[in-house]
Symmetry: C2
Subunit: 593 residues, 2 copies
Amino acid sequence: MSKQQSNNIDLETLRHSLSHIMASAVIELYSGVKLAIGPAIDNGFYYDFDFGTATISEGDLSKIEKKMKEIISRNLSFERRELNIDEAVALMKEKDEVYKEELITDLAKTGVTEVSFYKLGEFDDLCRGPHLERTGLVPAGSFKLNKVAGAYWRGDEKNKMLTRIYGLAFASKQELEDYVALMAEAEKRDHRKLGKELDLFVFSDLVGKGLPMLTAKGATIRRELERFIVDEEIKRGYQHVVTPDLAHLDLYKKSGHYPYYKESMYAPIIIDEEEFMLRPMACPHHFELYLSKPHSYRDLPMRIAELAKLYRYEQSGELTGLIRARAFCLADSHIICANPEQAKSEVAGVLDLIDFVIQTFGLAKGGDYSYRLSLGDRNDDKKYFKNDEAWETAENKLREVLTERGDKFTEAVGEAAFYGPKIDVQMRNVMGKEDTAFTVQYDFVMPGRFALNYIDSDGQTKEGIVVHRSSIGALERIMAFLIEYYAGNFPVWLAPVQIKLLSVSDKHHDYCYKLAEELKALKFRVEVDDGNETVGNKTRKAVNEKIPYILVIGDKEVDSQNLNIRDRGEQKTREISKEEFIKEVEGKIKNRN
Amino acid sequence: MSKQQSNNIDLETLRHSLSHIMASAVIELYSGVKLAIGPAIDNGFYYDFDFGTATISEGDLSKIEKKMKEIISRNLSFERRELNIDEAVALMKEKDEVYKEELITDLAKTGVTEVSFYKLGEFDDLCRGPHLERTGLVPAGSFKLNKVAGAYWRGDEKNKMLTRIYGLAFASKQELEDYVALMAEAEKRDHRKLGKELDLFVFSDLVGKGLPMLTAKGATIRRELERFIVDEEIKRGYQHVVTPDLAHLDLYKKSGHYPYYKESMYAPIIIDEEEFMLRPMACPHHFELYLSKPHSYRDLPMRIAELAKLYRYEQSGELTGLIRARAFCLADSHIICANPEQAKSEVAGVLDLIDFVIQTFGLAKGGDYSYRLSLGDRNDDKKYFKNDEAWETAENKLREVLTERGDKFTEAVGEAAFYGPKIDVQMRNVMGKEDTAFTVQYDFVMPGRFALNYIDSDGQTKEGIVVHRSSIGALERIMAFLIEYYAGNFPVWLAPVQIKLLSVSDKHHDYCYKLAEELKALKFRVEVDDGNETVGNKTRKAVNEKIPYILVIGDKEVDSQNLNIRDRGEQKTREISKEEFIKEVEGKIKNRN
């Protein structure tokens, strides 16, 4: 995978300059166009135009691109000059650039008295800069216009819809080509696309946005993940519980979550004049469960875990397949610890578990995932609970864990939870983009709010510490990640259908079904294709379904009782005995391959 | 188990007469008491009194009982007479019986012109009768006052709170004693009581009424049940899916559930100005999933199944532990069938599955459970969808299934769902009370509303039929049932802790832990009690926890490497080799014993 973007400031300058060059090209090509804004972005640039009554489609991009190349070849210089606000407004009025005029007027309101303009040939634009010296400095083949979309002026849907033209731009032709190839691969792997192609999940407008429905195949992957993590956690001493998905509003007031999470919670449900909330997190439920009986130091650490269904409000524009949904199921846990030392040892145990889980999926530490120590900010008492000493201890404990494990990590001030610091496990997706996949949080606030106490060996009542953690994250999200990571080629243990039997003709149906029953009895997931088609067609379909093992059953197989296996990704088939095959599949499932 | 109640009409007469005898006794003992109502009930009778400022407690019951016996020994006759409404009102006014006066006034409004009174010595009461001829006919020892409770006049909390005195009454002393013994047993087995004693589930006021939280032990039972039913259903060709617990209100309007279920649904949740409902049933979700792609006759029957979390509003007074909760998880399924004949065969398959499930728990058909065919009513077009022909076909198909299986069944007109007839599996609880545990419904309405169509072999688009069914019912409810059925003595496969190791002294701890690890590696659920107590105390605790296998580990066990087992319910222990023991436990788990 090539690097997605260079941190070089020149790249930003290049992209910004290209946005001006594009605007200049558009003005030369279309009359009466009005300009809005045109910034550099992550992978290139865009510019928002008001084309009036004209419409622009992706078919027009090559024409604009051609004109841009012409402007570049003119090797024009970007000329900066300063105007005072009144001159700038007058200029914009004169040119009838209403959007620019509004921007400058607003700048004036904030006390700005002077603004800069950049001139490029005839094209003259309000702009902070900087820009390249001359258009000739744009590396050959380093950009490409790629998308036309609608965008409201200033992002407000009450305003006019403008036309946004996007371009990709990188430091060289090679980098652009690498990026385009990566994008194509990412698009092929997009879990929303594969989810549809492989029949894993669907949405229904009648059910509602952001509420995925897993088909039998998608639910199979989820069930395998669910049982895998529950069994592994139980093995590691977690106590799996089941608590309700809603609770009285008072619970979230007690926990102090309400003011912080109000915006991402759904509206309350009134039951018998009381207000209930769909839960956005499970910790308060687990604390109430802990409080249902008295505890001694011998009960600690108490690792309360749950596959907790959580509900968070996401704006409809933010919803993204299984990655960002309005309901999801988190493999959650809250570990009640006796003291900071125990908390430290529990955090280490959690990191071990996360290592085990991620490595089961075939990911490697350092490359695919890394650690970030997210710290509080002693100067921000609004965002963080005030207790400098507790923050000091907590942050030190987490730092010690990572250091003693010999793990590399970065530190990020101001990324902590309101109740304490955390270690974030950062994973890279197919696009190379880093995101927080799992977190381990050290919490010294909730124990006080909920009186999460225990009787110590000296007979004294003491307050505990809570470690919040996820292991496999949200099931929906890890599914999305794995769909993209495997490009739908799930390892045998996760594959919704592990084996597909293709009958050569009608007379092989019975044998197919008998064999299918035999394999199903071993808990293998098997399908039979006994359709009225050629084996070639059946094979093509099964290949598209990304089935790990395709077994063609014809006369030879019925006679020899051997199996003719076509492995996923292979063109050739191999012949082995049924017993060998069963042993192989059993081994893969057992070892989660 | 003795019969709970005789169907003999005399029992009702006896109970009703006893309620009058009790009222007469109360009036003799307390001055100024006003009478409300006093009917016969399931296991006896009650009477509601207004004691004015006096309070009555259970301590007063023996005094009232004594007075009742005295009245019985007087062998008074019940004398019936008719009064016209005006005379009756005048009489009640004269006696200042305000409640009776209100009752008679209301009767007058319905057009009644004459009412009957029964006189018993000095006691004179408005009553429809019938009564025993004389008090001497009450069998000796056949009744017992057992409870005092508050009850609002006419059940309306805006009215005055009256005092309700309950009595038990049966045809003979023996029957009363049997009933009292059964009640005591039922009380011991009450899942709410055992749930607390065995640490299976708890409630929290802050979380909310009717929202149980399963502890690790309770969740273990649930998880075993969950995996058992999911695996069994998949084996039987069900496709397990996962759909969201809420949906747009429009979905329930489309299904037509909304007007029928509105009262038992929660208030809507507003998200982006749209109304979402916590789902009270999963069928519409499954239909939307079916509709996500076109289907051919080859896809049918399509058995869509889910462990579906459902939310139903229950009045706070109706909430009963895990039996009646505000959220529960139903092992639900909707089978899309091509035609009535296929639906019939699917219903038979469902009954097979239910047989298998119930018999796994050790229950016997006929004794513990039986079938009821719940029919529609052609004359009730409000309650039932109008389509006489479809009702006829559907009811015949269900009747044929039961007849062909040779199952005994009763028929109940007016017990169907609004969309079709059903077979109810009726189970008896510890008290002998029959209740619907599972249902199989035949639905010819939803396929039309949702256009649940398929392409038949003749190329025509045809409408399917839906079979709605549960297999194990709601997980919470079956848990409650099983807790009571087993009296907490769960079979090994369901027991939250299967094996408990008790160390005789400190020096046996290491061996205990080593052995525990060994057994846990086999996925046995094991606990170690290494507390600083005598083996006798530890054993007593483990016996109270109803652990199937208690293993005492002392010098002898460490030396011999054999195990000393105390089986649940046994006083004596037995010695066997570790290998034999492991084989035994593995066998029990595998065979679900």
